[in-house]
Symmetry: C2
C-alpha cells in the first residue's frame, strides 16, 4: 500500500511543521495575563505531560471538561438558549393563535420580561417544550443553525458565536495540543449546542454532553426519524454534571472548568481523583468588556464557588485581571 | 520546545514503521474468507476513503457502530452479563439469608434455570437490580473486573474476553486504520462493558454506549461518589439504539454491525443517511465452532433481520462460511 506510506510521510511533514511552528511561538495562551491562574494552567499541563514526572498521565486519561454558558461563551443577561426560545415563540406564533390565551407565551410575545420572569421555572419549561419539541432531530438542528447564523446579542451587538471567550478557546487548543481529549459538559441542551459548537470550539459533536429531552423513533415515508418529545430525559446540571460525565464519558476528568455554583459537583468529581488535578471557575468581574455578576445573579450564580474555592481546591479566574482580551476582535 | 519536536520525530518513526509494516501485509482481514461480505467491506472502506471519489467521507464523519453481544463476543447460551448476575447472586447470598424466600433468587441459587426462565423479564430485572445496584460506580467496576478476569464460559471453557470474535476485531482495526471512529452500541450495561471492553476491542470507554441505571451523587467521607440505584435510566436496545446513537454520539454512523432483530433500528438509522453506507448482521450458523441459532432463539433472535435483509439493504454475515476462524487460538 504505497498510498499509506505516502499518507504517513504527509502526516510527518505536518507534524514536524506543527512542532517547529509551535516551538517558535513563545506563548500558547496569549490572551491570558501573567499571574497565578496562567501559571497554574501551565504548571498543571507540564506536570501531567512530563514522561518521567511523578504526575505523568497517559494521553488516553487526559480528559478535560468545560461548562459552556458563562465558561466558553456569554450567558448574561439571559442564557442564549432562552433568547433562542423567545425568538422561536415569535416565529412560530402565527401558526399558533391559541398562544395569545396562554399567559406565559403571551408575555413572551408582548416582550413582557417581568411577567416571563414571574412565571418561574415552570414558565421557562413550558416555553422550552413548546419551542424545542414536536420536530425531528434533523429539523431541530436546521432551526438552530439558521438562528445562530443571524441572531445577535442584545447588548454586545455581535453574533453569539463571536461572543465565545478567546482565552478559553486558547486553553482548549493548548490542552488538545498536549494530548487532552476535551469535552463540553453543559446544563444547556445538547442538540442546541451540537450544530455550532464543533466549529466554535474545535470539539466534535460526540464530545458534547448536555441536557436533553426524550426522542421517539418513528418511520416516516419509509425512513426512520427521531421525533423530539415534550418530556425531559436528562438534566445535565449541578449533581447531574458528575452523573453525566460518568454516563457519557465513563472516566473521571483530570481538569474541569466552569463558572457557577452549578459547576461545583463537576469540579468536586474531578478533584477527588488521584494525582494532579485542575479545577477552575470563571468569575465574571468585567462590566466594561463583558458583564459583572456573581452571588445574586439569576444566570450563572456564583456564591459557594467563591467561598469554598480554597477548601475545595479550585481556582477563581478573575476575568478583569486575568484576561488581556475577552473576545476575538470584531 | 525541543521536546515537542522530539515527540513528533518519535511519532513519525512509529507511523512510518506502521505504514511499511502494513504495506508488507497483504490482507487487513485475514480471518475473513474471500467472498461477498469481505468484498463488501473492502469496497465500502475504499469508496469512503478515496479522496477524489464520489463517495468520499471526511474522516470526522467516519463513524462506525457495533453491537456487542453476539456481534463482538459470544452471547449463547445466555448473555454474559446474565451469567455475571447469577454468579453475583451466589456470591452475595451469604449476606442475604432472606433471598431464600424469594422464588426468583432461590431459583438462581438452586441452579433451577427452568424456574428462572419462567420468571420472565420481571425475574431478570429483579436479578439485575439486586446484583447491579447499591454500590458506587467505582466499586461496581472493581466487581466486574474481578469477575471477568476469572469467569469461564460454561460450554466453550474459555474466559469470556477470549470469546471475542477475531474477524470482528480485525474489522474494528481495519476501520480505525482508515480513519474511522468506532463505537460500541449495546443493549448490555455500559458499566458492565467499560472495565474490560477497551482492552478487548481497542475502543475507549467514552466510545462505549449501553443501557444504564440511575446513579445518585452523594458525599461520602468528604468525597463525591456516584451510587447505583435500582432504577432503569436508559435501555439502549431496539429503537433505543438509534435514540442512543443520537443522544451519545450526535452524528449518524456510516457503518453499523449487529446480529439480531434488536439491531435493525440501528441499521435503518445508519442506512437512511446520504452517501455510501454499510450495514451487516452476523448470522450464527456455526454449531461446531460456536453456536447456531436465529429465528427461535431466546438470545440474539434473528428473524426479520434475515427476511428483510435485501429490502433493508444490509448484509448477512454467514459465520460458518465467511469466517476462517472465529476466536483467536487458545
Amino acid at each position: 500500500m504505497p498510498n499509506r506510506i505516502l499518507g504517513s510521510l504527509v502526516i510527518c511533514a505536518l507534524l514536524l511543521f506543527g512542532a517547529s511552528h509551535a516551538a517558535a511561538q513563545t506563548d500558547p495562551l496569549p490572551s491570558w495575563n501573567d499571574g497565578e491562574r496562567k501559571t497554574a494552567i501551565v504548571d498543571f499541563v507540564t506536570s501531567v505531560t512530563e514522561q518521567d514526572g511523578a504526575d505523568f498521565v497517559e494521553p488516553t486519561a487526559r480528559i478535560a471538561t468545560f461548562d459552556n454558558d458563562g465558561t466558553l461563551w456569554v450567558e448574561a443577561p439571559l442564557y442564549t438558549q432562552v433568547m433562542f426560545a423567545f425568538d422561536r415563540v415569535k416565529a412560530m406564533a402565527p401558526d399558533h393563535p391559541e398562544w395569545k390565551d396562554d399567559p406565559v407565551l403571551k408575555a413572551v410575545l408582548d416582550g413582557d420580561m417581568k411577567a416571563v420572569g414571574a412565571s418561574g421555572k415552570e414558565g421557562v419549561v413550558e416555553i422550552l417544550m413548546k419551542t424545542h419539541a414536536g420536530m425531528t432531530t434533523d429539523e431541530f438542528a436546521d432551526i438552530v443553525s439558521d438562528w445562530i447564523s443571524t441572531a445577535e446579542h442584545p447588548k454586545l451587538n455581535r453574533k453569539y458565536t463571536d461572543l465565545t471567550y478567546q482565552p478559553m478557546k486558547e486553553l482548549i487548543l493548548y490542552l488538545q495540543d498536549n494530548g487532552f481529549k476535551t469535552f463540553i459538559v453543559s446544563g444547556g441542551g445538547v442538540e442546541f449546542m451540537r450544530p455550532w459548537a464543533p466549529d466554535a470550539y474545535n470539539i466534535p459533536p460526540e464530545q458534547i454532553i448536555g441536557s436533553s429531552i426524550v426522542t421517539e423513533f418513528q418511520m416516516k415515508d419509509g425512513k426512520p426519524v427521531l421525533v423530539r418529545q415534550p418530556k425531559v430525559f436528562f438534566i445535565d446540571d449541578k449533581e447531574g454534571k458528575a452523573i453525566g460525565i460518568q454516563k457519557f464519558i465513563g472516566r473521571r476528568p483530570i481538569a474541569s472548568f466552569g463558572n457557577a455554583d452549578a459547576d461545583i459537583p463537576m469540579l468536586q468529581w474531578t478533584i477527588a481523583g488521584d494525582g494532579a488535578r485542575l479545577g477552575m471557575l470563571v468569575h465574571h468581574t468585567d462590566a466594561d468588556r463583558e458583564f459583572a455578576y456573581d452571588r445574586k445573579s439569576t444566570v450563572g450564580m456564583l456564591d459557594k464557588g467563591i467561598d469554598d474555592a480554597q477548601q475545595g481546591g479550585w481556582h477563581l479566574i478573575d476575568m478583569k485581571t486575568d484576561w488581556s482580551s475577552v473576545f476575538a476582535p470584531e
